[in-house]
Symmetry: C2
Subunit: 149 residues, 2 copies
């Protein structure tokens, strides 16, 4: 095989941007999680409820739900156990719908304030393009896992 | 106050890119974590050891260590309790140094393969710029918290 750029080492610059990506997204998750706590939902609750809200008939098999929120099945089972008294198991109930309705406005405003307001449209496009390239590369690195098409 | 772009709602596009940012970084964390498990370190172990490796004299106060890895103190105390038998509490020991030396090569190669190889230099620059804008905005949103300067 010929030598390509992919045979070289990770550069300092690449490592710095990688670390900044992890640090910045951690900070965003932490701040968003704090916002959700004000409406008494965890990020996990929100993810489960959002997936059910967006599903046909507001219902998903647990395997589909695990795929939709990109969790291991065991993690989902455990989480649903804790959510049981909120009635959000597989079928979205009136209580679950109410919970996500209360949460979604503040949550989306926080995403706007903490993320979207920081970026010009061109930066959103650039970010989307970089993420798409990473996703494509992950697909070819893990070709047995399939994608999220 | 005048109406600005910041008074508008989050767009579908912004929400989609936001979700892709969270999904992609989750996937990268998951894959990197799996790589680290092959050398018997958790991502938390790696973060703690890396911060100590990079500190003057390979030692940090626990408050400095918590700041360096951006964790709550309570989480760090708990984690250090679990790491105790590896001897990485505040001062990096020979065992800790050995553990991170074994881990860092495979880890950096995985970061290169899963992240850096996916991106052209211009995409790395664009990503860095977008992250810097997000950070700057977080700083002004949370001015009481200070930065990571």
């Amino acid at each position: 095989m010929s030598q390509t750029a992919q045979d070289e080492r990770l550069t300092e610059r690449e490592l710095a941007v990688w670390r900044e990506l992890l640090d910045t997204t951690s900070e965003l998750r932490r701040l968003l999680s704090a916002e959700l706590q004000q409406v008494e939902l965890s990020p996990g609750d929100y993810a489960v409820l959002l997936a059910l809200t967006e599903a046909d008939g507001n219902a998903l098999r647990s395997s589909e739900l695990a795929d939709a929120i990109d969790w291991e099945r065991s993690r989902l089972s455990h989480h649903l156990g804790r959510m049981e008294n909120r009635g959000a198991i597989v079928v979205l109930t009136a209580d679950g719908l109410d919970a996500i309705r209360r949460a979604s406005g503040p949550h989306l405003r926080a995403v706007k304030r903490l993320f979207a307001d920081a970026l010009e449209p061109e930066q959103i496009d650039n970010l989307a393009e970089a993420l798409a390239s990473i996703r494509k590369n992950l697909g070819s690195n893990n070709s047995t896992e399939g994608g999220h098409a």
